[in-house]
């Protein structure tokens, strides 16, 4: 039975990775699970300079999901390179850095640095809904996505994955922009912009008013978008959005995702990613699937 995949030029021992912002830089969860078992680790969104993030409350629970508005708090790429990357490199798993910025120049400068680091790939974050400039502002138009991706492509030799926002009218056309600009893969979905109101105080619960919705609540939207994107582009898809077990993961793979990632599920239980790997293997045994690659996009539409 083969679970190995090559995702956009990145060798992974299985298709399971963990989503940016739900796994830090691996340290905390390394006390609970064996990081060597993961196909890849996608780091917390990392910027050129440190970012302090938004005011509290930054998170709140919603029906089968949660809203967050962290605001990309991170120590910056320099700190990451000196302190977190050496730690992550101790494990036998691919390391993908989620890169975020507020201007095109920042993305480019950051990716120049990332190009010199011992990492396996970059996930370009054009989809965070919680910062005033950059990110989703670029990610919501064909032109914006194409321009950033092209400019980053010029300075980055490593595999380039672009993470898409679902907060658009036509995600397939945005994915096409990513492909046209020369990226090696796409990942989707980032969170859906949402809001929750405290009816006692008559104010939104999040200090930033709105935040990104994640968790099982968003899964059907994500599966639909993965399918649509798979019909529009040839580059591989990293699918995510509400995956908390092997069955969810298989759904994404059938819809067209070559790899999948666990996000909010990590908060429910630190071992969700490892259990998901086991459950994917159980499914493969049950249905005599010799190679996980054979399942990708195998949904038959009605």
């Amino acid at each position: 039975m083969n679970t190995k995949i090559n995702f956009a030029g990145i060798e992974m021992k299985n298709p399971v990775t963990v989503s940016s912002g739900t796994f830090g830089y691996g340290r905390e969860y390394s006390q609970y699970i064996d990081l060597n078992k993961l196909g890849a680790i996608i780091t917390k969104g990392t910027s050129l300079k440190p970012k302090s993030g938004n005011k509290s409350p930054r998170v709140c629970e919603t029906a089968s999901g949660m809203l967050n508005s962290i605001g990309l708090q991170n120590p910056g790429v320099e700190y990451f390179a000196q302190n977190d990357l050496p730690f992550l490199r101790k494990f036998d798993t691919a390391i993908i850095v989620n890169a975020c910025g507020s201007t095109i120049d920042e993305y480019v400068e950051l990716c120049k640095i990332l190009n010199t680091l011992d990492i396996d790939g970059v996930e370009l974050n054009l989809s965070c809904p919680n910062v005033k400039s950059g990110c989703m502002a670029f990610g919501s138009s064909y032109e914006g996505v194409k321009e950033v991706t092209q400019k980053v492509r010029k300075v980055l030799d490593k595999p380039l994955i672009v993470k898409l926002t679902p907060n658009v009218t036509d995600i397939a056309s945005i994915a096409k922009a990513v492909e046209d600009a020369g990226a090696d893969g796409v990942s989707l979905i980032n969170t859906l912009l949402g809001m929750k109101i405290d009816i006692e105080k008559r104010r939104p619960i999040l200090a930033n008013n709105t935040g990104g919705l994640s968790g099982p609540a968003v899964k059907p939207v994500a599966v639909r978008m993965v399918y649509q994107v798979s019909q529009a582009v040839k580059i591989p898809i990293l699918g995510m959005g509400g995956i908390i077990n092997g069955e969810d993961a298989i759904e994404f793979i059938l819809a067209g995702a070559k790899a999948i990632s666990i996000g909010t599920g990590n908060f429910i239980s630190p071992d969700v990613s490892i259990k998901t790997i086991d459950e994917i293997e159980n499914y493969m045994k049950k249905y005599n699937v010799e190679d996980i690659n054979d399942l990708v996009g195998k949904v038959e539409m009605n």
Partner: protein, 258 residues
């Protein structure tokens, strides 16, 4: 660590306040006063997130971990319905910032409402270590006074106040704390207005003060970065945030802005 801990005893202390005792020797062995647990209330995805709940008592002899919680929303309501013999999914002990009393002789403990629960283990350990423990607990009214007898056992002096004077002293616990002129360190947990007043008093009088804070969180492990607290020394335009689950939940009062 993550444990499936058997619920061995369940007590209804007040109509909406429950004390759970679970078998969790591994957690009890290493937990410190002030640390907390992140508890999954059921095995479903609804409600999705764990509930952060403070540790009330560590029974080291029997490996029993106790926590007390108030039924406030759907999560705690489901938790309250769990029955003896069931296993509860617990992450803990969490938080690096715990109450540290070793270097002090005269400790003043001040708590308000449901904020008194995490102070019990602290008072107990401080007393066991020969400290002079003066405890000030405030409640809104007589009906809400909890654990008076338990705190009595572990305090050299216990003052109970009620806002409306329906039981013991009338007024706020801090009014009595301020009369105590023999304090080496203040330990506080309770509603924000109380913590703010305690913090201000401690800073003005140059008394070391440790406060336990809460903020909405998801993972409890320092990953999601949800539970941010602004540091006192960082300017408004360039705020620096620490996290309740990681640097806290107990902070030096002067270090954080609340």
């Amino acid at each position: 660590m993550q444990l499936m801990a058997e619920l061995v005893k369940k007590e209804n202390l007040k109509p909406d306040i429950y004390k759970f005792s679970v078998k969790a020797e591994e957690i009890v062995k290493i937990a410190k006063p002030g640390q907390f647990l992140n508890i999954r209330v059921n095995n479903e995805v609804e409600p999705l997130l764990r509930r952060p709940i403070s540790i009330y008592n560590l029974d080291k002899e029997n490996g029993i971990l106790e926590f007390i919680f108030q039924v406030k929303g759907r999560g705690t309501k489901i938790l309250a319905q769990r029955t003896i013999g069931e296993k509860i999914d617990i992450l803990g002990p969490l938080g690096y910032g715990s109450f540290k009393f070793n270097e002090y002789k005269n400790v003043a403990i001040i708590g308000g409402g449901i904020g008194v629960f995490p102070l019990y283990e602290l008072a107990k350990q401080a007393k066991e270590n020969g400290k002079n423990v003066n405890t000030y607990l405030g409640f809104r009214n007589k009906d809400l006074v909890t654990l008076e007898d338990k705190f009595e056992e572990v305090s050299d002096n216990l003052i109970i106040t009620t806002d409306d004077g329906s039981y013991k002293e009338k007024g706020f616990a801090i009014d009595w704390l301020k009369k105590d002129k023999n304090i080496d360190c203040i330990f506080a947990c309770g509603p924000l207005p109380m913590l703010r007043a305690v913090r201000e008093y401690a800073i003005e009088n140059d008394i070391p003060c440790q406060i336990s804070l809460e903020e909405r969180m998801a993972c409890g492990l320092g990953v999601c970065l949800g539970c941010a607290i602004k540091t006192a020394k960082s300017p408004k335009e360039a705020p620096e945030y620490w996290h309740v689950c990681k640097v806290g939940p107990v902070f030096e009062a002067k270090d954080v802005e609340i």
